[in-house]
Symmetry: none
Subunit: 419 residues, 2 copies
């Protein structure tokens, strides 16, 4: 089984935009036991497109393309595929109706150009796109199965998972599976984790274990192969057991469960509620929490007190406390947490005040200094963090947000006290 | 001048690692007036490598490759290039001495395998690599100039800038420069903008104009060539003038100036201050504003009122107003904006309340319904948006945030009234 990808768009091949769809597709295909042999980025030149399609149909068993399905003159995918496969383009009445309905639902006028999105190479099947106007194309061309998807990442991903992968399986094109399991750690440095995991990450070990780090979250990724998911899971289990045992203290969750999701899970499990008061993180904690559907059951909301006086106006932090201890201080962090907990009547509240930089640091309070606060029925406490003044602003903000959320999470689990 | 890139590495084509070298090289070549026509990612199969090199040497004037120059058996670049060019590999004594010196400098033993890194196709010149062991390869093969660089990003970048670009210029392969200018629009649908820009985006038009869309921000990208930057800018100016004139109403900024940055610029210019009150956007506006260093001069902070009662507790929105009109209503949006403006004493305040989904929609108030509010010294107004209930939560949140910020921006510019 030889697969290849064509990622179509002048913005990709010119480097204006980084191609991430190709990586995503290659991983998904790998998980279906279908290795990708070539990924080609190309622009919107008709002859280049035709040559690339012809070559791919001739040398690969499976071709997946991204982009070029829009309504503009630059969108050449349907024509290039038809020409390379040696068939005509014909209008599909059903797809035209679906496209018209899409525009109606969004209250937008359908232009004449959008009609071309209902054109398909003779013999092709449409691939439903519930999130956009352009349906995908599935065409058997000689020995090659060609699947054309739009370039908009969320459309492409939904269509691959909901439409393409099931058809590949049903038609016997997917052989075996590779499963991945991710274990996320927080609260321990990357080099310490690496040193502790030397045996696991050795080259050639089966199952394979990789480590990645992102804003102080360290993730192990275990990949195991099998004829089916059950077999791959069996192959993976002993390695997972070692990781869970050895790094227990720092594990926040598995797969997509990061610090934010893990905190929300703990709040839901313990039926407790949270409020937030943020200064240097500027709403990042609130934004992450509210990206989780249904979080309103446990998250009341919060305040972003960017100005000093807003800490007084919204949270009742005394102006004299700020004047005496400085706005980046444990006293202010505690006042913020206690203030928002009181205002919103929640069980818990967390707060952050600090210097995210790049400016605003002093000798006494350098960039990277952050105080996080936690208020509960037991009282209110704060912790000082010093992250290093050379970190980018976004990294300091992200780490500070995670520290505050992780403290609340560990408190709810009975793993951390107030101090 | 036709250029193409081969990015060699199993970790790239399998999706294990994201290729960023290709994007970087394409941009650098574009700026030298050398457009990239194809970028191909491929693994370490000898036959695939040979075929890819042969095709590239046959169809392109310039080939740049990344990866496959290491000392292991997986490193196939020198052999594939020699075979495709029809020449032998020979040892270069000078390169061997440079490699030996590198190991000595780093106090690392040089293995026998590292000798292969001094092998070059007959007729090739080495390209110096001051940061690593593997020298690059420069070979004229028929009509194609082939340049092979290592895959380590910092080695590749230094070698391209210090060795490759100067040689391309000296040998007359780099013809002038290409400059790019981006114009960002908000507030008009993608297909409507496309329909209005049909003449500009026509294939073959000079300068070239491309359109991209991201969460309702539509961007034009104009690319113009010239012998030098001044000439390219002159070539670009008339096209930019047309875009600025025709789309004036929806332009928020150029290059990196998006809705958020444009709003902050307007606040700074007019010396006015802003506060925010967010419900369904959950802090996204605050988070975006505070990602801009120095924003505290104009942004006071805000509240995230995720619970109904927090709208009352923090903003003084009457419980009876919420009960009568519903929490997603113009009345509540206006109450939130007026409330936070009063609490923080700012010139302006914006607010958002809505249903971001995927759950929580009703027949009366569907997912995608959002009210945005604007409070100023003149009073307080709100607008209703209906984005379509099938959009992902993150897209609804992002668009709602942009709508609110854009309203404030246009108000400050005198382009929008309160209603």
């Amino acid at each position: 089984m030889k697969a290849e990808l064509l990622m179509i768009g002048s913005e990709l091949v010119s480097g204006q935009k980084l191609d991430t769809n190709g990586q995503w597709l290659a991983r998904r295909l790998g998980d279906l036991g279908i290795p990708v042999r070539f990924t080609t980025l190309l622009g919107d030149d008709p002859e280049d497109n035709y040559q690339a399609f012809r070559q791919a149909l001739g040398r690969s068993d499976l071709l997946i393309t991204s982009g070029g399905l829009g309504p503009t003159q630059d969108d050449l995918t349907r024509e290039s595929l038809a020409r390379a496969a040696g068939v005509e383009l014909v209008e599909d009445a059903e797809s035209l109706a679906v496209i018209a309905a899409f525009f109606k639902r969004r209250n937008r006028p359908m232009t004449e150009r959008n009609r071309v999105q209902a054109l398909f190479p003779q013999g092709a099947e449409p691939v439903a796109n519930r999130l956009g106007t352009a349906p995908g194309i599935w065409l058997q061309a000689g020995n090659c199965t060609a699947v054309c998807l739009p370039g908009v990442p969320y459309e492409l991903k939904a269509m691959f998972d909901e439409e393409v992968a099931p058809r590949l399986r049903a038609r016997g094109l997917a052989s075996g599976v590779v499963v991945h399991k991710v274990v996320n750690l927080f609260g321990k440095g990357e080099s310490e984790v690496e040193a502790m995991a030397f045996d696991l990450t050795a080259r050639g070990r089966v199952p394979e274990v990789g480590i990645t780090a992102s804003d102080a979250t360290i993730s192990f990724r275990v990949s195991a192969q099998g004829r089916d998911e059950a077999e791959a899971m069996v192959a993976m289990e002993p390695t997972l057991a070692i990781i869970r045992e050895r790094f227990r203290e720092w594990i926040v969750g598995e797969d997509n469960v990061d610090v934010t999701q893990a905190l929300v899970d703990e709040l839901q499990k313990s039926r407790r509620t949270l409020a937030t008061a943020e200064s240097c993180t500027g709403g990042l904690i609130a934004e992450r929490l509210t990206s989780i559907p249904g979080v309103s059951a446990v998250y009341a909301g919060g305040v972003v007190t960017y100005w000093e006086q807003s800490k007084t106006a919204l949270l009742g932090v005394g102006a004299e406390v700020i004047a005496r201890h400085g706005v980046v201080s444990g006293e202010v962090a505690r006042g913020m947490a206690a203030g928002v907990r009181h205002a919103l009547g929640t069980d818990l509240a967390i707060s952050v005040t600090g210097v995210a930089g790049p400016d605003g640091g002093t000798e006494e309070v350098p960039v990277g200094r952050v105080h996080v606060g936690l208020a509960t029925a037991e009282g209110v406490e704060s912790k000082e963090l010093n992250m290093g003044s050379d970190l980018p602003r976004a990294v300091i903000q992200s780490r500070a947000a995670k520290h505050a959320m992780n403290w609340a999470r560990r408190y709810l689990r009975g793993e951390a006290g107030m101090g």
